[in-house]
């Protein structure tokens, strides 16, 4: 269905195409949303409308109980799709998931208006539509950055790519020489020379026993 109709060509063939579109989810949904966001593309919006409106109506009738309110939900949802399309990020999820969010939020607020006579719109606060990951407070901070030893990084670089992928995903739990120097309150040169001394002594003690 993708090649038969160019967007500027109001071809009659599109009627068949429209029927197909009702049977399955068109792959272009995401592109249409982007066109609406970037170019206020009315044709793309019309296609989105054509695909989503019957399904939103069905959802609305189920949630809100009658066709009039179902139609209102179609209007609310599709208006928000038009107005907020720029908040859709195709890399964060499918167009259907995003439109569902818009629809569910509108439906939630409508239901509150109907049942609780409450005009306070909460839907978009409860379910953000900007698809951005929240700066939640459960951030697992990557302390790998400051515990990753430079020498280890060099070592990582020398690994085959496949191994690097694994290794770079590890949080190193290791002090750097700088951190150790800081912890001990001595210059980094002292840390380095002490290490040389300690290794030399160790070699002396262990002789050639140990393997490299």
């Amino acid at each position: 269905m993708q090649q038969t109709v160019s967007r500027s060509d109001p071809s009659r063939e599109s009627k068949t195409i429209a029927n197909i579109a009702e049977q399955q989810v068109p792959e272009e949904l995401s592109d249409w949303l982007v066109s609406v966001a970037s170019q206020r593309d009315k044709q793309a919006f019309t296609r989105l409308f054509q695909f989503f409106a019957p399904k939103i109506l069905r959802f609305g009738i189920k949630q809100l109980g009658n066709e009039a309110q179902g139609n209102e939900l179609v209007q609310d949802t599709m208006t928000n799709v038009w107005r907020k399309a720029h908040l859709y990020d195709s890399s964060k999820g499918a167009a259907t998931t995003w439109v569902y969010t818009i629809m569910r939020n509108a439906s939630f607020d409508m239901l509150r208006r109907i049942k609780a006579k409450n005009e306070q719109n909460l839907g978009d606060d409860i379910w953000p539509v900007d698809m951005a990951q929240d700066e939640g407070s459960s951030v697992t901070e990557s302390f790998g950055d400051h515990l990753m030893e430079k020498q280890m990084l060099d070592y990582v670089e020398s690994l085959p790519l496949a191994q690097q992928a694994v290794v770079k995903g590890v949080y190193y739990q290791e002090l750097s020489q700088e951190q150790l120097a800081q912890q001990l309150g001595v210059p980094i040169g002292t840390v380095k020379s002490r290490l040389r001394l300690a290794l030399a002594k160790l070699k002396q003690q262990m002789g050639d026993e140990y393997h490299d």
């Binding site: 049977q23 054509q50 019957p54 069905r58 599709m78 909460l122 929240d134």
Partner: protein
């Protein structure tokens, strides 16, 4: 690490928009703090979207009163010079077409929202000298005045949700809430600090749902701030604490 999460069933209702507003706000606040549940909600939303937008084809293709309303040929109006007569005759369902197209026209006349995505507004409050950022799901909900009683202080949230009440609760260092039970239910989301009760240790992000079957006595060593929703006044169960029953109404 967060160990107490909403159940999968609760998350599913959350995604469907079927929870009461205050409960939805609390679940949303947990989800904001919990990467695990964010992943689950994402998955459930995808599933709900698939259900709403994909599985309807069979119903749609069968004749029903819902269907004809929105079936029309949108390409008729592609270039903006919509010829009503032609569309009506072509489709044989003129009224539906015209209302759909009128709706599209009306919608596309409205301006789009500002392109600039505003930085997330973080609402912060100060409790006992500590700044605490509130979940973003609370950003449109006003916070009423703090009221204190001993080591407990409470501020109600101006969320109208039938008999359910939502509050921020601060328990100061070393404070505890006397052993109590719940006639209805009480959901607690720990926003800051930690507390313990008979059932375990809770940290920021933990989501705890208690109902009438549970009795507990939360104690906090270093203080904590919770977001709570309760459906009914709580009842203290220990002898001496019953004198404190005003606190029950206070917390609720």
């Amino acid at each position: 690490m967060i160990k107490h999460h909403p159940t999968q069933a609760l998350l599913k209702d959350f995604v469907s928009g079927d929870l009461e507003a205050s409960v939805a706000v609390l679940v949303a606040s947990h989800v904001e703090m919990c990467a695990v549940c964010r992943g689950a909600v994402q998955t459930l939303t995808e599933q709900a979207a698939d259900e709403a937008f994909e599985a309807v084809s069979a119903m749609e293709s069968s004749p029903g009163k819902v269907d004809p309303m929105w079936s029309f040929d949108p390409t008729e109006d592609m270039v903006g010079n919509f010829d009503a007569e032609e569309a009506f005759s072509a489709q044989g369902a003129g009224l539906a077409d015209s209302s759909a197209l009128a709706m599209i026209d009306a919608i596309t006349e409205t301006p789009q929202d500002a392109q600039i995505v505003l930085p997330q507004t973080v609402t912060e409050i100060e409790v006992a000298g500590k700044r605490i950022s509130l979940p973003r799901s609370l950003k449109s909900i006003a916070l009423k005045e703090w009221q204190g009683m001993g080591k407990l202080s409470r501020a109600r949230l101006a969320l109208d949700d039938d008999e359910r009440r939502m509050s921020l609760l601060h328990i100061d260092k070393g404070g505890s809430v006397p052993t109590h039970t719940h006639k209805g239910f009480e959901i607690t989301l720990l926003l800051e600090g930690s507390f313990d009760d008979e059932m375990g240790h809770y940290v920021a992000g933990d989501f705890i749902w208690l109902d009438g079957d549970h009795t507990h006595q939360p104690v906090t060593q270093d203080g904590c701030v919770c977001l709570t929703v309760s459906s009914d006044a709580i009842h203290f169960t220990q002898g001496v604490s019953q004198i404190l029953n005003p606190i029950g109404r206070f917390i609720y």
